[in-house]
């Protein structure tokens, strides 16, 4: 029997593919189980993952303890369900403060819930520091460092007197061409439908590109042992 899992997708920055990765995990989880994963979206603007899975998403205001209870206690109810948490960039610190303070990992272990933290990082020192900070807070969760190659940034090298945290990238998200990128960004696009070959309407080149993208993600996760 496969353990239930929660993917916590986060970053210290916006617009770097965080929601795309959360959607991808959601679709992959819905393919492996009859029961769709429950999604928690901490982006109160309404522009997050709730647009893609409105029927399976709960918006969570992390500043409200009632919402914290609604999210964390639901995940720890032990009802064999999978979860995806899309953590808004401006809520990342608060999320992990609560995560640590309430001892979420202990609770997850008690109910057999696997926890995987997927952190999208860029080349900046702040991003690395946040990644290192989160990673060192974890005890039993899997930390997966993700870099999105579609985010164009110049690598920044530390000054000679600086010592930057070392974070090894576990997963690279390939850059999609503009047409394929537009396709997957559309609110009605579902990776699950695509994998189930229900998108014959798409151009061959676009389909091939998205397949390559998915295959690339699959091969990387397999090779590094990420669930």
């Amino acid at each position: 029997m496969i353990s239930p899992i929660v993917y916590i997708v986060c970053s210290d920055k916006t617009r770097n593919g965080k929601t795309l990765l959360a959607r991808l995990y959601t679709d992959l989880l819905s393919l492996r189980s009859q029961r769709k994963p429950l999604i928690f979206d901490t982006d109160l603007s309404g522009n997050g993952i709730c647009n893609y899975f409105p029927d399976h998403t709960k918006i969570i205001d992390l500043s409200r303890v009632g919402d914290q209870v609604a999210m964390f206690d639901t995940m720890l109810a032990g009802d064999e369900r999978d979860f995806v948490v899309d953590v808004a960039a401006n809520e990342t610190s608060r999320f992990f403060r609560i995560f640590t303070e309430i001892g979420f990992e202990t609770g997850a272990q008690e109910v057999g819930l696997e926890v995987q933290i997927c952190y999208l990082l860029d080349w900046s020192l702040n991003s690395l520091k946040m990644a290192a900070y989160i990673r060192q807070k974890l005890s039993s969760s899997r930390f997966v460092a993700v870099r999105n190659l579609a985010v164009e940034e110049m690598p920044i090298a530390p000054r000679s007197d600086e010592r930057w945290p070392e974070v090894e990238i576990d997963l690279y998200l390939a850059r999609l061409g503009s047409e394929a990128a537009r396709t997957v960004q559309a609110a009605d696009f579902s990776f699950a439908d695509f994998i189930s070959e229900q998108r014959g309407d798409l151009a061959y080149e676009v389909r091939a590109e998205i397949w390559n993208f998915l295959e690339d993600v699959y091969n990387q996760t397999k090779s590094v042992g990420v669930t």
């Binding site: 303890v65 009632g66 206690d73 309430i102 001892g103 609770g107």
Partner: protein
């Protein structure tokens, strides 16, 4: 082990006095130090709701109740007594203890005496500290700044506060950290000890249905508060005595 009498009080209501008494009893229980409690909030007794088996409600104005508390100090097998003084009753209670010789007995070393004075952010609380110092010469005097039920708290003017606190040469200070309001309310509603709430155990001893998140907040709060208790000599003395091989091993519930 010498008997220790710990008074918890404040001359101002609503500063979290009973919460501090509950937290102290919780701490002692976790450290396997047997304690008994007296609740002077007669006739209701909030403390008794949380510690029904070890708490007795008394009226400090009643001589027979004074006897229940004080005449049993020497004879009780339980060596720690915690008294939760009724709100607004601190000075009066200290005056009563002074008049009936309790303070003198403590000064003579018959037992250890401590006062945990729970204070709020108002100047009135600072004035209270000055009023009680006439009684605190021969006891461990602890000022507990309570953050628990305030959100924008302790807006003391630091200079004013220091001016008051500087006069209290031998006083020790602890901070009772803030506990999330919802977590506090849920423990209150459940009518259980903080430790039982964390352990998800209801008032009847069965499995509770308390939120993991709220239990987590209470666990963190208790851990922070434990560090504060650890700053106090009188607490460390109790811990040392409880570890001493000369004493009988502690265990079980004091009142059972």
């Amino acid at each position: 082990m010498k008997h220790t009498l710990i008074l918890v009080g404040a001359d101002k209501g609503g500063v979290g006095k009973t919460t501090v008494a509950r937290a102290l009893l919780d701490f002692l229980a976790r450290k396997n130090i047997l304690a008994r409690a007296f609740d002077t909030e007669n006739p209701r007794g909030t403390l008794k709701r949380f510690y029904p088996r070890i708490t007795e409600i008394i009226d400090l104005d009643s001589v027979s109740d004074q006897m229940k508390l004080l005449d049993t100090i020497e004879t009780s097998a339980v060596k720690v007594t915690v008294v939760d003084l009724k709100a607004g009753n601190l000075s009066t209670a200290l005056d009563i203890f002074d008049r009936i010789g309790v303070l003198d007995a403590a000064a003579a070393g018959e037992f250890d005496l401590a006062l945990i004075h729970v204070v709020g952010p108002a100047i009135a609380s600072l004035d209270e500290m000055n009023e009680v110092t006439q009684y605190t010469k021969d006891m461990a005097y602890v000022v507990a700044k309570n953050f628990i039920n305030e959100t924008n708290f302790f807006e003391w003017d630091d200079r004013t506060y220091q001016k008051y606190f500087a006069k209290l040469q031998d006083a020790r200070e602890i901070e009772v950290p803030k506990l999330n309001e919802m977590a506090y309310e849920q423990v209150d509603l459940a009518g259980v000890t903080f430790s039982d709430f964390i352990a998800n155990q209801n008032a009847k001893g069965g499995a509770g249905d308390f939120s993991f998140v709220l239990r987590g907040y209470v666990r963190k709060w208790i851990a922070d508060l434990d560090a504060e208790w650890g700053h106090l000599d009188m607490i460390n003395k109790l811990l040392d005595a409880s570890r001493s091989p000369m004493d009988e091993p502690a265990g079980g519930d004091a009142a059972e």
